[in-house]
């Protein structure tokens, strides 16, 4: 305290701090304080106040001065003490406060100490506790570890036990990869735990499971053959990859495809063979399909096979999409690449093999299905199915499928021939039943009016005769391209339809099937239905039921055009239409078809000739032209010996119902007319087809057509003569006429004025004939051409009759010759009137013969040599009458007889 005071005092006069003292007091005190020497304020250690005072005692130590000094010091001491006291009291509060503070701190300190101590204590206990439990924990942990591992083992065992069911479940979910993975893992786990007795057992079972699973995979694999599912296959593929059996699986898959082809073929057939047959040999199955069901069956067969092809196609497709990984370098990858390449090759070869198998199946079926007996429509449909299959094959493996193509071709030919036999058979029936009534068709009728030719209208109806086959060829090649695009569509994943669906659609036409352009030219389609509806039948119906009316209006000469067709003619034409349709669908068989079509004509022609010349009672050297004879010979040969491809086919039997002997109907003249004119009409229709046919056959085959046209069709009109002669030769009875002629005296001196009576007789007969012809015009429209040809034949007959009669004259004078001339001129004049023919044909024949009488010897000799158309008898008679000189006569007669020998 003192020191504090001192310090304070040192800083300044103490008086500064005692302001609060009474001012009087303080002022004096302050003065005193100020008077105190500073030394006194030094520290008592190094300052001795007493000494100082003593030293500084007043010089002469007088009492007084001492006294004074004493007082003064005393006084100073008082002031200082006072002052000190004052200061002390002044600082007391602070001191107290300070002290309290100290006190406070002390308590806090002791408290802290206590806390520390407590904490220490706690820490100590804590540390004690910790050390102890650690060990326990560790021990427990270890235990747990052990238990866990035991548990794991147990779990493993349990899972191993349930592997079987898990695998089945996975397989059901089609998760093949996981299944295999599971098995393999389990196996590995089992191997790692051999120490457990139960595991050995389990691992055996695992092996079994693996085997079973692989079997399951295999069966899934085989099911893919029928319907490829890329997801399933991807999974399978992964699973096999895991098994390391990718390649083996592919081999297996190929086997499955092979057997799938088999199975599905059998399945297709089984539907039709019924339950009865347990025979699984394909060939035998084929044979047991009822023939009526074969078309449906072949459709099913092809469809089933298509599904397998599609599946395989998708498989290949899958591989080409998934095997694009780049080449690798390490050994394992190289191996993998080799295997991949192998698979690729295998797949490629597989395409061809499957296609080959498919074709095989189809051909086997077709071979034993008696294809040739199907109705036309069905056959065409089957061809369509096969064509579709060919297209499928092309898309499938780019193969042109020769097997099928050849098969189609040969079968088509066989079919057509068989079909043709049927048609011939039918034609025979038609001809044998034919009544040779004229069918009332319009005068403009031709084959285009028949529905069968509707499709060909645009090819045949051209005035320029140029057939635009090229167009259709181009078009069909375009469509065949379209076809393949079209077929490709069916090779997609998401279609459940097949390209064969169209065959089940009722509305599908053959043109759809064959991808031909529709055959309705828009421009002339409008008048067509009309025409077809009217049936190209004559408008005016004269041949009504029980109508016996004769049509005066329709006198024969007035009919310009008429078409004479018999029912059979129409039937032949209809068949031609059908043949052409076959041709259209099977262009490769065109020639065959054309030849067969011509055979129909031949048969018809032959029949008409056979039926209507059977009663020909005049010998016939000039009735038959060389070409006609050759033609008949050719047809007879081919009928009797059968062409090489067409087995013997009987000619028609002469029907009983034809009345060719009654005079009142001119010995069946109307039937004969219908018959002959209908052949002629038929020939015309065939001619019309020729340009079209030429486009159908190969260029080098056109010769055959040409030959047919020139030697068969062109000859048709020649048939008129022998057939009409059968009737014409009965117009005048030869015997009566000849007898009448023989009664004429030819050795008259003078030329008569009157012609001989036989002429009138013949003319009367001819008039009757003409009348009867008029009568039959009820039944058949006789146009000028027909009438002319009939009268031509009649005049031929009459003129020959005259020559015959004249040649019978053993004695004949010049006057007789004149009479002959008079007679025949008169007769021809009449004939001209009756027949309307001007001049009467063949009149040269008699003219020349009669006039030869006037020839000199030399002329006679030439005549005899140059006119073989007169018979030996005629010539001998001529010479006998004309030659008075016996020697000349003899020479000429021997010349005539010589000439006859080579014949």
């Amino acid at each position: 305290m003192l020191s504090n005071d001192v310090v304070e005092n040192r800083r300044g006069p103490p008086g500064v701090n005692s302001r609060s003292l009474s001012s009087a007091h303080s002022a004096a005190d302050l003065e005193i304080l100020r008077e105190i020497e500073n030394v006194y304020f030094s520290s008592p250690v190094d300052f001795d106040a007493a000494r100082y005072v003593l030293e500084h005692a007043p010089a002469p130590p007088t009492c007084e001065s001492i006294e004074h000094m004493f007082t003064k010091l005393k006084r100073q001491q008082q002031v200082v003490s006072g002052k000190a006291l004052h200061l002390i009291s002044q600082q007391r509060d602070n001191c107290d406060k300070e002290f309290a503070e100290i006190q406070n701190i002390r308590t806090q300190l002791s408290l802290t100490l206590q806390t520390c101590r407590k904490a220490r204590e706690h820490l100590r206990t804590a540390s004690n506790h910790l050390t102890m439990s650690t060990f326990v924990i560790l021990a427990n942990f270890r235990k747990r570890q052990i238990i866990r591992s035991v548990l794991k083992c147990l779990e493993l065992i349990r899972s191993l036990r349930s592997v079987e069911s898990d695998v089945t479940e996975l397989l059901n979910k089609k998760d093949f990869y996981s299944a295999i993975e599971l098995i393999l893992k389990s196996r590995k786990a089992a191997a790692a735990h051999k120490e457990y007795a139960c595991i050995t057992d389990l691992s055996n079972r695992l092996q079994d499971t693996l085997v079973l699973t692989e079997e399951k995979l295999d069966s899934v694999l085989s099911s893919l053959c029928f319907k490829f599912d890329k997801d399933v296959f991807t999974k399978l593929r992964k699973a096999y990859g895991l098994l390391g059996k990718t390649q083996a699986a592919m081999e297996q898959l190929h086997m499955h495809y092979s057997s799938a082809v088999n199975e599905s073929s059998v399945a297709a057939l089984k539907k039709y063979t019924g339950e009865a047959s347990i025979d699984t040999k394909f060939q035998n199955l084929c044979a047991s399909v009822p023939s009526g069901k074969a078309p449906a069956c072949v459709l099913d067969l092809c469809e089933n096979l298509f599904y397998i092809m599609r599946s395989y196609y998708l498989l290949v497709d899958w591989h080409s999409k998934h095997d694009e990984e780049p080449a690798c370098t390490n050994v394992f990858d190289i191996q993998k690449n080799v295997s991949r390449e192998y698979i690729r090759q295998k797949l490629k070869a597989g395409l061809l093999r499957i296609w080959h198998d498919v074709q095989g199946k189809v051909s086997i079926f077709l071979k034993s299905s008696g294809l040739e007996d199907y109705p036309f429509e069905k056959f065409v449909q089957i061809l369509g199915v096969l064509r579709k299959l060919t297209q499928i094959g092309e898309v499938f493996c780019g193969d042109k499928s020769d097997v099928l193509e050849d098969f189609i071709k040969t079968q088509s030919v066989v079919y057509i021939q068989n079909y043709h036999r049927g048609r011939l058979e039918e034609l025979k029936l038609f001809l044998e039943n034919e009544a040779w009534e004229q069918c009332p068709v319009k005068s403009t009728f031709n084959l285009l009016n028949l529905q069968e030719f509707k499709q060909f209208k645009k090819y045949l109806n051209r005035s320029d005769g140029v057939v635009t086959k090229n167009q259709s060829e181009n078009a069909s090649s375009v469509t065949s391209q379209d076809d393949s695009v079209y077929v490709t569509k069916y090779f997609k994943y998401d279609t459940s339809s097949s390209p064969f669906d169209m065959f089940r659609n009722e509305n599908t036409t053959n043109d759809d099937i064959f991808g031909l352009e529709p055959d309705m030219p828009s421009d002339d389609s409008e008048d067509e239905p009309d025409e077809l509806k009217r049936d190209f039948v004559e408008e005016n119906d004269r041949h009504g039921y029980a109508t016996t009316g004769n049509n005066e209006a329709l006198s024969p000469s007035k009919v310009r055009h008429s078409v004479i067709v018999a029912n059979t003619t129409l039937s032949v034409l209809r068949n031609c239409g059908q043949y052409l349709q076959i041709c259209r669908y099977l262009p490769q068989t065109a020639l065959e078809v054309v030849v067969l079509m011509n055979q129909l004509y031949d048969y018809y022609f032959y029949t008409v000739h056979t039926f209507f010349t059977s009663d020909l009672d005049v010998s016939s050297t000039t009735l038959y032209t060389t070409k006609l004879t050759a033609l008949l010979k050719r047809i007879t040969n081919s009928l009797e010996n059968g062409g090489s491809e067409n087995r013997h086919f009987a000619g028609p039997e002469q029907p009983h119902h034809l009345d060719l002997s009654s005079e009142s109907n001119l010995h069946g003249l109307s039937e004969r007319i219908v018959a002959v004119e209908s052949v002629i009409f038929l020939a015309k229709q065939y001619e019309m087809l020729q340009p079209y046919l030429e486009t159908m056959v190969a260029p080098h085959q056109r010769l055959i057509l040409e030959h047919f046209r020139d030697n068969t069709l062109a000859v048709v009109a020649d048939l008129r003569t022998p057939v009409y002669m059968c009737s014409a030769s009965k117009s005048v009875d030869a015997r009566t006429a000849l007898v009448a002629m023989s009664q004429v005296k030819w050795d008259v001196k003078n030329v008569a004025v009157e012609h001989s009576p036989y002429v009138d007789m013949v003319v009367r007969k001819l008039q009757v004939y003409a009348l009867r012809i008029e009568n039959i015009s009820n039944r058949v429209t006789l146009n000028r051409e027909v009438l002319n040809s009939i009268w031509t034949v009649v005049s031929k007959y009459v003129i020959h009759l005259l020559v015959e009669g004249f040649s019978n004259a053993t004695k004949c004078s010049n006057g007789g010759r004149g009479l002959m001339q008079l007679d025949y001129t008169q007769l021809l004049l009449k004939l001209e009137k009756i027949s309307g023919l001007k001049p009467v044909p063949h009149q040269d024949y008699v003219d020349r013969y009669v006039k030869a009488y006037y020839l000199p010897r030399k002329g006679l000799e030439e005549f005899v040599v140059e006119h073989p158309e007169y018979s030996t008898k005629h010539l001998v008679a001529l010479v006998s009458c004309a030659c008075e000189n016996k020697k000349d006569r003899q020479a000429l007669i021997s010349l005539i007889e010589e000439k006859e020998i080579p014949n």
């Binding site: 039918e426 069918c439 029912n567 039937s571 010998s619 009987a650």
Partner: protein, 214 residues
């Protein structure tokens, strides 16, 4: 053809135009029904082998045109028919009225023992029926015909019609009422029984002793 049969019957289908004769035949031989069929021109033909009482029998069926104008053509096919379907259209009174004429033709022109079955066709068009079943039955009874109503459209009774007619013919053969051997019976033995295909008859050429040489 590879077909074999024991008998062959010649059949006719006759009746007025548009009654459905061709449709019936086509249905019978297995072709599709056509709504707009053209009139038959002249005569058409179809054949089918059927089994009648265990005997396979070939039916040779001539489908005649019904239109008047063809009458002369078609009549010539009546000859020697063993059986006939006489068809009218149940929706056409006219076609029914014409039956008597048709019947007379058939009886006079075909074989006298011809078995005729009356067919009322277009049975499916019940709404437009003009001829009742009863009156047609009556007609059939009076004329000793068998009778069926058919529909060529639905196929109802079509096969039955042909079969019924065939059965009757066969029965008559068996009772001896019909003699297949008689010419014009319309019946022939088939390929199964005796092959009677004679060689084609060469036309009997008698090159004339006749005085005339042409």
């Amino acid at each position: 053809m590879s077909e074999s049969y024991e008998y062959l019957f010649k059949f006719l289908v006759i009746g007025s135009a548009g009654t459905g004769k061709s449709s019936l035949l086509n249905n019978f031989i297995g072709n599709k029904f056509k709504e707009d069929r053209c009139h038959t021109i002249g005569v058409e033909f179809g054949s089918k082998i059927v089994n009648i009482g265990g005997k396979s029998t070939k039916l040779q069926i001539w489908d005649t045109a019904g239109q008047e104008r063809f009458r002369s053509v078609t009549r010539s096919y009546y000859r020697g028919a063993a059986g006939a379907l006489l068809v009218y259209d149940i929706t056409s009174r006219d076609s029914f009225n014409a039956l008597a004429n048709w019947l007379r033709d058939a009886r006079t022109l075909a074989s006298p023992n011809i078995v005729i079955l009356l067919v009322g066709n277009k049975k499916d068009l019940e709404d437009s029926r003009e001829v009742t079943f009863t009156e047609a039955s009556q007609f059939a009874l009076e004329n000793e015909l068998m009778f069926l109503e058919t529909s060529a459209k639905t196929g109802e009774n079509v096969e039955e019609a042909f079969l019924k007619c065939s059965k009757t013919i066969l029965a008559k053969i068996e009772t001896g009422e019909l003699d297949p051997e008689r010419i014009g019976s319309g019946i022939q033995y088939g390929t199964n029984t005796t092959k009677r295909l004679t060689a084609p008859k060469r036309p009997a050429r008698t090159p004339s002793e006749c005085a005339c040489r042409v």
